[in-house]
């Protein structure tokens, strides 16, 4: 088990926190924290929802410190509202920065979306029209955040149930160009690509083929909910078979990129998440061994 020490980001002689993130990690969820802290299962890294850990007191900050003593962690946030036309919330950013430095968080990822405008918060990932205006606006905001944090962040493609009349670029063009203009990294959520494929008919092969692979630093896998006339990115199910297949296509370009299992609703026992991570591991190992007919059991 790798251990990391809080504050090591400030020490030039120590391995950068981001080097410790490899293999298939899990999204840390509160029902599993006690079990993890007691049993210390062999999980290479955890991604934490930063917004859930920004409270000032009580048990949560104590648990965060304990988790960091045993596992490398990354932060995933939902509250930056990067695409919003409202001013950036620098109080929120300052809290994030402080936590990241204190606990040696390897990196921060956020979504290609907005969550609030005019002071109202939807607490949902609202899509942007994929237009030149959105592109330059998002790129500028990401640059501001990176300047403030003093490091690159990762931007994740979101599931979307809307298509705007103002949209002129397809999604993969938009995020590829965004990464270039903002000089940021990408987090590719495979389930979100599949959800948008089913609901909006986006072309999966074109999408994967057009991504800038050298900017991809993390992959997400999750389950969706079938609602009949659409599928919802509900993170309440195992990863679906077509999403595993899409993952296999993607890792042929980025086999060494860390992968993460997300599960947020109807959260099962930790063992179930570990089994999902093992499936992802098997696919990666089979690809590396030159066996494309992976067995996911």
């Amino acid at each position: 088990m790798t251990t990391i020490n809080p504050g090591r980001l400030n020490d030039d002689n120590v391995q950068p926190a981001s080097d410790l993130i490899s293999g298939v990690g899990l999204g840390l969820r509160s029902p599993h924290i006690n079990e993890i802290l007691t049993d210390l299962p062999r999980i290479p890294w955890f991604e934490l929802l930063a917004d859930n850990h920004m409270v000032e007191g009580g048990l949560i900050p104590v648990q965060l410190a304990q988790i960091c003593q045993h596992y490398p962690i990354t932060f995933h946030s939902v509250g930056l509202s990067l695409g919003s036309v409202d001013p950036l919330d620098f109080n929120y950013l300052a809290k994030l920065k402080k936590l990241m430095k204190s606990y040696g968080v390897a990196w921060l990822s956020e979504h290609c979306c907005f969550t609030s405008v005019d002071g109202f918060h939807s607490h949902d990932l609202l899509p942007l029209p994929y237009s030149e205006e959105s592109l330059s606006h998002m790129a500028e905001r990401i640059s501001q955040v990176q300047d403030f944090l003093g490091e690159q962040i990762l931007i994740e493609n979101v599931s979307s149930y809307m298509k705007f009349a103002e949209t002129t670029l397809n999604e993969s063009e938009f995020i590829s160009e965004l990464a270039k203009q903002a000089d940021c990294s990408l987090l590719v959520d495979v389930n979100n690509i599949y959800v948008n494929h089913i609901n909006q008919g986006i072309n999966i092969d074109d999408y994967i083929a057009s991504l800038p692979y050298d900017r991809i630093k993390e992959i997400h896998l999750a389950g969706f909910d079938n609602r009949g006339d659409y599928i919802l990115d509900a993170h309440n199910n195992p990863v679906a078979e077509p999403v595993w297949q899409l993952f296999e296509k993607l890792i042929q370009h980025v086999a060494d990129v860390p992968t993460l299992i997300e599960w947020d609703n109807d959260i099962p026992a930790l063992q179930k998440l570990i089994e999902e991570a093992d499936k992802a591991d098997n696919i990666i190992n089979n690809y590396r061994a030159g066996n494309l007919d992976y067995a996911i059991g």
Binding site: F120, H123, D124, P129, T167
Partner: protein, 266 residues
């Protein structure tokens, strides 16, 4: 349409009742099987579900009493009346008690549930006390160092997780029955006098404790920034003679966690 206008009409159609959709819907294209109304519906129902989940977690006793259907209607109405203005979802639901008070004027079916605002207030503070910032323990050395001549000017400060409650209804029993012991007796007799209690965080977890009338008065006065000399006067008026032991109890329980002298806060 500029990005700012699109975002504004999008959020309007989410935080306001359905009547205000038309401006935003004209910005959407039909895609696949999803017509423009369906696209917006998916976001509305997602957001509604997420907000309702928060309220269900914060107000489990209210949910148990009102039932899922009615509680879900309340959540919907609450979201439109008090849209979230904070990126932190832990702060969502703060005005649920006020909302219920207003509801009594509009909804006869709530007759018999007059205790609900007090119960909601209890549940909000229970939730809040779990997260608020930690306070350092009371600094006795610093207190000893204060010149005795100035003692009358001491103003004590309450722990950030501490809240005071008074209710003419048996809300503590109702809360226990609907939260800690679901399915238990739901018949409650009205108390002979007002119930006083406090909520605070003990270690990592919230705790509810009953108070005497005198303790409530003292703590209320401390919350109102009354100085030590004024607190003593209250004791004299009420004929209580164990002011000091109460103050020590408050400090030992970490309800009182600091002090200030004149306007120099600790």
């Amino acid at each position: 349409m500029p990005l700012a206008e699109i975002q504004k009409s999008f959020i309007d159609s989410l935080v306001k009742p359905q009547s205000s959709d038309s401006g935003f819907l004209s910005q959407l294209l039909t895609v696949g099987s999803l017509d423009v109304n369906k696209q917006l519906y998916i976001y509305r129902s997602n957001i509604n579900g997420a907000h309702q989940k928060v309220l269900e977690q914060v107000y489990p006793a209210c949910l148990n009493i009102l039932g899922e259907d009615y509680f879900s209607q309340l959540c919907r109405a609450y979201r439109f009346q008090y849209p979230s203005t904070d990126s932190d979802l832990n702060n969502y639901g703060e005005y649920f008690s006020d909302f219920i008070v207003k509801l009594f004027k509009l909804d006869n079916s709530l007759e018999g549930y007059e205790y609900l605002p007090d119960l909601a207030c209890l549940e909000w503070h229970w939730h809040r006390s779990y997260y608020v910032k930690d306070n350092p323990l009371f600094d006795f050395e610093k207190l000893v160092a204060v010149d005795p001549v100035l003692h009358d000017n001491l103003i004590f400060t309450l722990n950030d997780s501490f809240s005071l409650h008074a209710s003419d209804f048996p809300v503590m029993e109702i809360w226990h029955a609907n939260n800690k012991e679901p399915g238990s007796e739901q018949e409650f007799s009205m108390p002979d006098s007002t119930q006083y209690f406090c909520i605070t965080r003990a270690g990592f977890f919230p705790l509810l404790e009953e108070l005497t009338t005198y303790e409530y008065q003292l703590l209320k006065s401390i919350a109102g920034n009354l100085a030590l000399s004024q607190l003593s006067e209250i004791s004299d008026k009420t004929g209580e003679n164990d002011f000091q032991s109460r103050l020590i109890k408050f400090i030992q329980k970490n309800w009182v966690s600091g002090f200030a002298l004149q306007d120099i806060k600790e």
